[in-house]
Symmetry: C2
Subunit: 174 residues, 2 copies
């Protein structure tokens, strides 16, 4: 199926999906968070062809999520390190992991879980407000337009006339 | 590019990606979290062809992320509601939104941001431990095998012999 570009949408979720590029991005970043830095390390862990991996790593570097750093000059060799922009995807990865452990684990239970490195205590990751520590629930939050809000966003928030049906006056489904 | 199935991988991130199916899933769920329930509402908001939307909604129902509920018997009409399994993807969506606002916002700034529904106060979503409220940082956490861990997971965690290069003995990159 043809993939539509999300780059010109205002929605931050759409723009994140565009930056992530494709599912494989998260698999490569997963390994980077686990400490893998070198081409052959990624290749062995992910089991994909070298030319495909090379293209994907180049795309992640171009997107600013990984950076190439030399670790040897003779012979010239480099490794791939997470940038701050890449490291900031950690919450996305953790949220996916939690969902997978709850809803898509193998029959025997989760294959892997997250623990406190210092104590070994199991962690229960949730999305919380940094200021208050309060857990964020869909019913407790809402969206407001920011400085970059254009017509698309205002329409989505019901603050400008729109062709979209509001939930209360939605037309019949087929 | 051919998309490899992640369904038989043990990794919870891979299994979540498999369940989500494709990027468009998150766009449809985004609208569902905003209260859109009816076919024409999704269609107007997403601007995609009806046959494509119908196929995607059917896939989300088949995956158990949305459920069809009748709201009229004459004529027979139904709407699409988030299941508990679908609602549990909220943290993934919020984490993507936060990243997009930080790293991929339009020039003028974020188009939309999350606020407390009751007070209107801006929220700063982070991934935190539910038990302690402590913010989870990649450097503070590690992975341990769970009951569903097989060879794939044990190898990934360095607890079984593997063909993969460990970071410290990674081979040269090309």
């Amino acid at each position: 199926m043809r993939r539509k570009s999300f780059a010109d949408m205002e929605c931050p979720v759409a723009r994140t999906l565009e930056a992530m590029g494709e599912w494989w991005t998260m698999m490569i970043l997963r390994e980077a968070f686990r400490g893998i830095r070198r081409f052959d390390g990624f290749q062995a862990r992910l089991g994909i062809a070298r030319n495909i991996l090379a293209r994907r790593l180049a795309a992640l570097v171009a997107a600013g999520l990984l950076e190439k750093r030399p670790y040897s000059s003779r012979p010239p060799r480099h490794e791939y390190r997470l940038t701050e922009k890449g490291r900031d995807l950690f919450p996305v990865l953790v949220a996916m992991m939690e969902w997978g452990n709850r809803w898509a684990a193998p029959g025997a239970g989760p294959a892997v879980s997250l623990v406190d490195r210092a104590t070994g205590r199991p962690l229960e990751p949730v999305i919380a407000d940094a200021a208050t520590g309060r857990r964020l629930d869909p019913r407790d939050v809402t969206l407001v337009p920011g400085p970059g809000a254009g017509r698309e966003t205002l329409e989505a928030l019901g603050l400008a006339p729109s062709a979209a049906s509001a939930p209360s006056r939605g037309a019949a489904s087929p």
